[in-house]
C-alpha cells in the first residue's frame, strides 16, 4: 500500500482512471446459438404474421383502373387526341359488379411524366406561394422560362404551376338509363400542412386585386384566383388540386388524388351498377408518349393497395424461420463452439 501511495505522488504519472487506462466498464455482447436460433424464429414468425396481415389487407382493397389516353381508335377519348380542339369531352363507361366499399378515392394517374426532373422541380417561387405580393412583380429567376409573358410577370410562375393537371371529371351512375351525378368531395385531398400553413393566399379581398398587372400561367385557362370561385377557401394558391399538383411525384409513373366520394348516397361506396365517367379532356400526354388513367380505390390502414410489403414480409419471415431451422440442424450436428 505504501508503494502505491508513493507512486501516486509522482507529478507526471498518468492518472489512473478507467477512461485513460481504457478500462471503462463495458458490455461485451456475445453471440450464442441458444439465443440466435429462437431470436431468428421469433422474428421470422412475427414477420410472417405481419406479412399475412398486410397481404390480406392489401387483397381486400378494391381497385378499378381505367386508361383514357385515347391512343387506341376504340377508345372513347380517341377523337380528343386528334386535333387541338379545346373543351373536348369524352365519356368512359364501366360497370361495377359488387359494392365498391367507401370511402372511395378517385385518383388520376400519369405515366412517363417526369415531375421529378430537377429543372422542373425548382421552377417555382415559394415566396409567391406564401402570398408575398412583392414577389408577384418580380418572380424568381428559377421560374424561367415561365417567369414572364408579354413582359408581365406570371403568378404563380414556374413550370410546375404552369403544367397543372387540368382534366376534369364527372362521374355518373346510370340508373335506369338516367345519369345520376356522383358527388365528389374535393376537400382533404392535399396535405393538411400544405393547405393550412405552407401555402398562403395574399391578404387581399377580393383576391383578384392582388393579381393586378400579372399574367396567369400560359397553359392555364383561368387565373389562379378563379380556380374555384365557389369557395374562397379553395381558391388561389390553396386550391387543393393545385396543392396536390405542386407536391411533385417521386417517380415518372404516378397517381394523384383527385376527389373523394364520401357524400350522399355514395357514402358507403359505389353500389354495383353501370357508371359513366365524363372527362373534359385537356391535358396533352401523347407528345411525350405518356398515358392518362383514373383509379378508383378504397384504402386501409396501410394506405392504398400494395402487395409488395405483404409479400416482402412473408418472404423475409420465412427466410428467418428457415435459417433458424438450418442453424438448429447445424448446431445439433456440429455444436457451436461455446465457452460454457
Amino acid at each position: 500500500m505504501t508503494t502505491m501511495k508513493e507512486e501516486g505522488n509522482y507529478a507526471n504519472r498518468p492518472s489512473n482512471t478507467a477512461f485513460t487506462q481504457q478500462r471503462l466498464p463495458a458490455w461485451q455482447p456475445m453471440l450464442s446459438a441458444g439465443v440466435v436460433i429462437p431470436g431468428f424464429l421469433l422474428i421470422g414468425l412475427a414477420f410472417i404474421g405481419i406479412g399475412v396481415g398486410l397481404l390480406i389487407t392489401s387483397r381486400s382493397i378494391q381497385v378499378l383502373e381505367l386508361d383514357y389516353t385515347g391512343t387506341e381508335t376504340s377508345s372513347p377519348c380517341y377523337q380528343c387526341t386528334m386535333s387541338n380542339q379545346s373543351n373536348c369531352v369524352c365519356k368512359l363507361s364501366f360497370s361495377i359488379g359488387t359494392l365498391f366499399k367507401g370511402p372511395v378515392f378517385f385518383y388520376y394517374g400519369l405515366t412517363n411524366y417526369f415531375q421529378n426532373q430537377r429543372k422542373y422541380g425548382v421552377s417555382k417561387d415559394f415566396n409567391q406561394l406564401i402570398g408575398d405580393v412583392s414577389y408577384f412583380k418580380s418572380p424568381s429567376s428559377d421560374c424561367q422560362p415561365y417567369q414572364r409573358v408579354n413582359g408581365k410577370p406570371i403568378v404563380p410562375c414556374g413550370a410546375i404551376a404552369n403544367s397543372m393537371f387540368n382534366d376534369t371529371f364527372k362521374l355518373y351512375q346510370i340508373i335506369n338509363g338516367k345519369e345520376e351525378l356522383v358527388p365528389f368531395d374535393g376537400k382533404g385531398i392535399a396535405w393538411w400542412t400544405d393547405y393550412n400553413i405552407k401555402y398562403r393566399n395574399p391578404d387581399y379581398t377580393p383576391l383578384k386585386n392582388a393579381f393586378n398587372d400579372t399574367e396567369k400561367p400560359v397553359f392555364w385557362t383561368k387565373p389562379a384566383y378563379e380556380l374555384d370561385t365557389s369557395d374562397a377557401s379553395n381558391n388561389g394558391f390553396i386550391n387543393q388540386d393545385f396543392l396536390v399538383w405542386m407536391r411533385r411525384a417521386a417517380l415518372p409513373n404516378f397517381r394523384k388524388l383527385y376527389r373523394r366520394i364520401t357524400e350522399g348516397n355514395y357514402k358507403d361506396g359505389l353500389p354495383a351498377g353501370n357508371y359513366s365517367l365524363e372527362i373534359s379532356y385537356n391535358y396533352p400526354v401523347i407528345s411525350f408518349e405518356g398515358t392518362k388513367k383514373v383509379t378508383f380505390s378504397n384504402v386501409s390502414w396501410m394506405g392504398g393497395q400494395n402487395e409488395f410489403l405483404g409479400i416482402a414480409y412473408l418472404v423475409i419471415g420465412s427466410m428467418c424461420v428457415v435459417m433458424s431451422v438450418v442453424m438448429l440442424i447445424v448446431y445439433a450436428k456440429f455444436r457451436f463452439p461455446e465457452e460454457d
Binding site: 498518468p14 385518383y107 403544367s163 397517381r255 388524388l257 384504402v299 410489403l309 416482402a312
Partner: protein, 1166 residues
Amino acid sequence: MRMLFPGDAEAEPGGVRGVHLCRKIQHDPRERMSRKTLKCLLGVDEGSRANRKVVVGHRPCPSNEEIIPPKFCDNRIVSSKYTVWNFLPKNLFEQFRRIANFYFLIIFLVQVIVDTPTSPVTSGLPLFFVITVTAIKQGYEDWLRHKADNEVNKYKVTVLVDGKRIESESEKIKVGDIVEVKENETFPCDLILLQSHRDDDTCFVTTASLDGESNHKTHYTVPNIESDLESLTATIECEQPQSDLYKFVGRMDIYKDSQEPIFRSLGPENLLLKGATLKNTKMIYGVAVYTGMETKMALNYQGKSQKRSAVEKSINAFLLIYLFILVSKALVCTTLKYVWQSKPGQDEPWYNEKTQRERETNLYLKMFTDFLSFMVLFNFIIPVSMYVTVEMQKFLGSFFITWDKDFFDPEIKEGALVNTSDLNEELGQVEYVFTDKTGTLTQNNMEFIECCIDGFQYKYRDACDELDGFSVTDGPVNKVQQKAGREKEDQFLRALCLCHTVQVKESAEQDGLADQVDGSILDEASSQEERGFIASSPDEIALVKGAMRYGFTFLGLESKTLKILNRKKEVEKYELLHVLNFDPVRRRMSVIIKDTSGETFLFCKGADSSIFPRVKQEEVEKIRMHVERNATEGYRTLCVASKRLSPEEFAQVDEELKEARLALQDREEKLMAVYNQVETEMTLIGATAVEDRLQEEAAETMEALQGAGMKVWVLTGDKMETAKSTCYACRLFQRNTELLELTLRTLEDRGRSREERLHELLLEYHKKAVQDAPPVKGGIARSWSGANHDYGFIIDGASLSLMLKSSSASKPNSYESLFLQICQNCTAVLCCRMAPLQKAQIVKMVKNSKGSPITLSIGDGANDVSMILEAHVGIGIKGKEGRQAVRNSDYAIPKLKHLKKLLLAHGHLYYVRIAHLVQYFFYKNLCFILPQFLYQFFCGYSQQPLYDAAYLTMYNICFTSMPILAYSLLEQHISIDDLLENATLYRDVAKNAMLQWWPFLYWTVLGVFQGLLFFFGVRCLFSNPALQDNGQVFGNWSYGTIVFTVLVFTVTLKLALDTRHWTWINHFVIWGSLAFYVFFSFFWGGIIWPFIRHQRLYFVFANMLGSVSAWLVIILLILLSLLPEILFAVFRKNHGSHARQTSTVTPLTYKHPREHNHQPGLDGQH
C-alpha cells in the same frame, strides 16, 4: 521553418550596426586549395558557401582587409509559420495543397459556377467546417509558437559595447557582439567562448535542452587571448551555419599592434550553443558567430520528414477506386441522359421547356456541364469528413499511449511519449523489429566485473573460486594479489584512471579538494561513497569506479591536470596534453599525458578489434582468451594499451595534432589520420570486463514479439561474442537454434579470397535455410514453436559491407536478395560490429525488400538515431545515453518491456480501429450515394437529388460521424489482457489484413447491396404512392426521406453490430445519433425556415411517420440489410479458428464476458 542565410533578402537591413564582414583578398594558397576542393565536393557555387567572417566586437580589422557590408540575420528566432497578416492566405494555401481539400474546393467551385443540382452550401459547409477547424488548430499552435518565440527573443541579455555593459534584448544581438552570460542562463545565440570566470579557462555547459544529455560538458576559451576584451581585435572565420550540433570548425585571427595576425583554431569545444545552459561557472564572455535562425539549435529544429503509414496508403488506393467509381457513375449518367433525350418528346416535353439560353448552348458544353453536375451530385461518395475523423482519431487516440500507466517508469518518473500520432496503427503492423543491444536489450547499467592484467585475471566479486588455470582474486579492495607484478597492476589501474573523459561532480570535487589541501589524507570511505562521476558513456564510469575499488581514485581534472589518488594514498598529478576523442569508427580513445617526471605517455582503450592490430602481437594471445571468454559471457570488454612517447615523437605528434585542429576543412579526416598514426605499436597492458545486465523482461518481450510473428534483428556495435550471448539470454537464439555465421572469421577460412568465400557461404546457407526448409505457409505463419529447424543468422559489419559492395559490383542485388531470403527464414538475426549508418542501411534494405515489410527500430542512443529515422516506426528508449534517440523517435518508452504492450495491445487495437474506420467510411458513403445514382434512372437523368440538401450535408457531419469516432477510439474487439497474453493474435492483423482488397471488396459489396436494397425497396413501395390511411399521396421528398431514414439507421446499426466493447460512451453516441437524427428531422421539417427558397421538407418527416406502410418498410429494409451481416457473423463464428475472440453479436443476444477486470453491464461502477 525558415532558413536565413547571409544575403537573404529577409535579413533586416537596419540590423547591420557596425558588424563588418571582412573578406580577405589574399588567401593562404593552401587554404584556398582546400576550400576549392570542398566546394567541388559540395557542388555549390562560390558565393553561398564561402566561410563566414566575423569581426569580434565590431572593431574594424586592419587595413589590408576589404570591408564588405555584412548581411547576417538578426537573432530573432522565428519558429512560427504565420503572422497575423499572412495567416489567412498562407494557411488556406497550405490546406488546399492537400489533395482532398483541393478536390472539395473544386467541387464547391463547380457548384458555384455551374448550375448544379445541389446548392454550394452542401459541399461548402463541410469544407468550411474542416478548413476552419484545421485553421483554428494550426492558428492556436502557431500562437503558442509565437509566445515561445517572444519569450526567447525578448530575453534580457548583456552586451559589451566599447567596454560598457549594455542591457539589451536577445533578439537584438548581432553577429560579432560580445555577450555576457551568467551562471544558469541559457546562451542567447551560438557564441565563441572568449573569456571565462573560471581560472582554468573552461566553462561547464549542459545541453539538456538540445540533445537531452544532462552531463556537464567542458568548453574551452580560445587559447591565449588577451584578458582585455575591449582591446581585442580579431576576426573569426568559420564555416557557414550547419545543423550538426557536434561539428564546428573555424579559426580566429588575432591582430596585435600591426603584427602579423596570430591564428587560433576553433572547434566545437570553443562553441557555446544557443539553448545550452551555463553551469558551475560564474560568468563568461563570448562573441556571437551564429544568430537567430542560423544557430545550430534553430537549424536542428526543422521538422522531421513525414512518415506515412500503410493505412494511409490504403486510404489513397481506395480513394482512387472511389474516384473511379464516381467518374464512371457521372459518365454513365451523362451518356444515358443524352441517349434518353434523343427519343422524341423526352428532351423537352411541353411541361418543362428550356429557356432560350439553354437551347442555344453548345451541345458539348451542355454535356460537359451535365457531367460536372453529376460529379457534384455524387461527390459525397468521397467523404470530406473522413479526413477529419481519421485525424481526430489519430490525435485523440494517441493520448491513450501517453495516459497508459503501465508505461510509467517510477525510476525516471516518466511515461511514454508520442512524437507523432500519424503512425499509431503502424504499431499493429510491424513485421521486423530492429533493436539496439546496449541500453535497449540491456540496461546500460555498467558494472565492473573483472580485469585482466598481463594475462592474469582479477575478479572483484566474491564466490568465484578457481574458474580456470588463472588465479582468481577476490576479497577486499587493497589486497590485489601480486600476480602480474605490482608495477604492471599500477600501470593498468593508472591507465584506467587517466584514459577517459569522466568528470567529477562539482560539489564532490570541491569537498575533495578541501580535504586534500588540508591534510592530504582523504577519508576514503566517505569519498568513495559520495563521489559522483559524470560521463557521456556509462562504461567509463564503470571503469573509473572499478579502478577505485582497486585503490586508484580519480580526483578530477583541473586546469589540464589530472589528479589521481594511488594505492598508497598519494596524489599523483599528470598534465593532460591531448585527448584523442572516442568515435564509433575508430572504436577507441586515447589520452596523452605527461607525468611529474616529465615523461610522456599515451594511454589508449578501446574494443579489442581496434586495439589488437595496434599492439605487439605476442602480447595479444595472453589476453585474447580472456577477452573472448568474457565476451561469450555477455560482458563488454575493453582493452587497454599504452605507449611511451619520446620527446621527439611527442613534439611531432603535438605539432601534427595542432595543425590538424587548426585546419578549417576536412579537420575530422586530418585528425583521424593523426590519431591512427599515433595509436600504433602500443603495449597491451590489460583488458576489462564490464557487465551490462539485461533489461527487465527482455526475454519475455522478445519471445512475445517473435510469437506475434515479428522477426527480431539485433543491430549492435558490440562484438559478436557479447552480442551472441545477449541473444541467448534474451532467448532470441535457443539451444536448438542453428547459427549461420557470416563474419570475418568464417570468411577468412581456407585461404581463399573473401568474395569467393562469401559467395560460397551465402549459397550454402541459402540452401540450408531456404531451399531445404519446409515451405512456409501463408507468409507469416512461420512456426516458432520449435517444431521446425530454427536458424539464427549472424553477420558483422565488415561482411555486410563486403556483401553489399560485391553485390552491387558483380551480380546486381543477388547477394542482397540471397541474404534477405536467408534472413526471412531465420528466427532471429544478429548484426554485430555495426556502424550507425550500417544500421540504417540494413533497415533500409529490409524496408525495400520484397513485400516492403513494415519495420520498427528501437534504440536508446545517438548511434541508433539513423535507424530510428529510417524505419517505418522509430521507438526511442528513454535510457541513459542522452535523449537524442527520444527526440528523433516517433514514440518513446521508458523501458524495452513496454514495447510488448505498445505493439501487441495498443498497436493491434489502433490498427483494428482505424482499419474499420476507413472501411466503414467508404461503405457508408457508398450506400449513401448509390440510391441517389439509381434515382437518376427514374428522373430522366436530370440530376435531381434524392435527399434534401440538409441531409446531404449533415449525413457525414452529424448523423453518422460520432458513433464511428467513438468506435475508433474505444473499441477493444479483444480485451487488452487477452492481446498481451496471446501474442499470436497479432498475426491476425498482419500485412494490413483488414485493408486488403478482399475486405475492401466485402465492404463495397455490402454497401452496394444495401444501397440497392434501400432504393428498390422504397421504389416497390412507391408503385402506389398512396401510403396514408387518408388516401393522400407522397411525393419525391418523402421518397428520399424514407430512403435516408433507412440508411441512417442501417449504417448506425451496422456499426453497433460490429461494436464488441460497449462502454457508456458507445451507447450514448450510437443511440444519441439516431435520436438526434429523428429530432433534427422533426425540427427541420417542423418550421417554415426563413431565407430558404424551398420548404420542400416541410412536414415530410412527420407525415412519413404517420404512415404505417412507411414504418413497416423502414423496419423491413433495416432488418433485411443487416441480415447478411448477422448470418455472416454467426457462420464466421461457427467456423472461426479462435471463436472466443471473434464472436459477434446480434441485436437480440448479449452475454456478459467473464473477465474479472471488466465490470459487466452498465451499472456505472469502476
